[in-house]
């Protein structure tokens, strides 16, 4: 597996910590899936922060703080600086949202924030689209990981633009890439990995399942199957049928 800013992940799965019915169900989902990374956020202090901090630390996984909800580069930069101090990591999942309905990234704010944060020593994981030109800007800024969306956050639609995601993967063969957002079913995770992506990041599909821990395990197994398939050299797609059973030696009946 490709490394993520020098870290090799044990599994190709990153899992969010939001929307779980309870902390114990969240912990079970991490345990069952073997997820290597947990995304977390910063919000206004209302008294529950310390307890949550203790729980996420006990998961024993890499923490990836996000800048969720930020709609400008300035907001995202300040949030990243606060997260670096609080979570004691220079990893940041950079989100600069450009549309409240689709939660689509603002490409201009994203590139601006990535440039500032990379120059400031952050290891930036940008939540982006499959736009290749934007991806090039992010890589030029210093991003060594790209996280294109599969579909809008929380939609569960899967991979909306297979062609674009395949093209993006091919354009940056040396950059670690994660499909972030929009996955709804384990088959979507397998598909992402079959395309050659290095990991998946998901939250809602696991947290809102009737049995989050079992669904987390299903996603992990699907991601691993997809990764194995990608490494095994998938066959090419053909327009016409090709018989798999040899014609030679067939009886004349």
């Amino acid at each position: 597996m490709r490394d993520f800013y020098g870290e090799t992940l044990k599994t190709p799965m990153m899992l969010g910590t939001a929307r779980f019915p309870s902390p114990s169900e969240m912990e079970a989902a991490f345990r069952e899936s073997g997820a290597s990374v947990a995304t977390v956020s910063l919000r206004r202090e209302r008294g529950a922060g310390q307890a949550f901090w203790n729980i996420v630390r006990s998961l024993g996984v890499h923490l990836l703080p996000n800048t969720a909800g930020c709609h400008s580069a300035r907001e995202a930069i300040t949030t990243a600086q606060m997260a670096r101090e609080y979570f004691q990591t220079d990893w940041i999942k950079l989100e600069v949202i450009g549309n409240a309905d689709t939660l689509q990234p603002d490409p201009f704010g994203l590139a601006e924030a990535a440039e500032v944060l990379c120059a400031d020593g952050f290891k930036v994981f940008p939540y982006t689209t499959e736009d290749q030109v934007l991806a090039a800007r992010l890589v030029d800024a210093g991003c060594r990981v790209l996280m294109p969306w599969g579909a809008p956050i929380g939609s569960g639609m899967g991979l909306n633009n297979i062609h674009g995601l395949r093209t993006l993967r091919a354009a940056f063969p040396d950059v670690a890439m994660v499909i972030d957002a929009g996955l709804g079913l384990p088959s979507h995770a397998a598909q992402a990995m079959e395309l050659g992506y290095d990991a998946i990041l998901l939250n809602t599909a696991v947290a809102e399942a009737d049995d989050p821990a079992a669904m987390a395990r299903a996603f992990a197994q699907a991601a691993q199957a997809g990764a194995l398939a990608a490494a095994s050299g998938p066959m090419g797609v053909r327009d016409m049928a090709v018989p798999s059973t040899p014609l030679i030696g067939k009886a004349w009946l």
Binding site: Q50, N66, T204
Partner: protein
């Protein structure tokens, strides 16, 4: 002086951010802070003076996706 803490108007006697956090009962809390939209590190709080109308954000860990 009147300042805004996490979106709420507060009247504090504190003259710097470190004192303000202590006054709010968050002196020992694990939090991250920003003043008027700019990050202020824990080490810099006592040296960061407050002015009336300042907007102080005090953040902590939360679930995230």
């Amino acid at each position: 002086m009147k300042i805004e803490v996490n979106g709420q108007q507060r009247d504090v006697a504190a003259t710097n951010m470190g004192e303000a956090l202590a006054e709010l009962g968050l002196g020992e809390a694990r939090v991250a802070t920003a003043l008027n939209g700019t990050f202020v590190s824990a080490a810099a709080r006592n040296d960061t003076a407050l002015s009336p109308g300042d907007r102080l954000e005090v953040l902590t860990a939360m679930q995230g996706g």
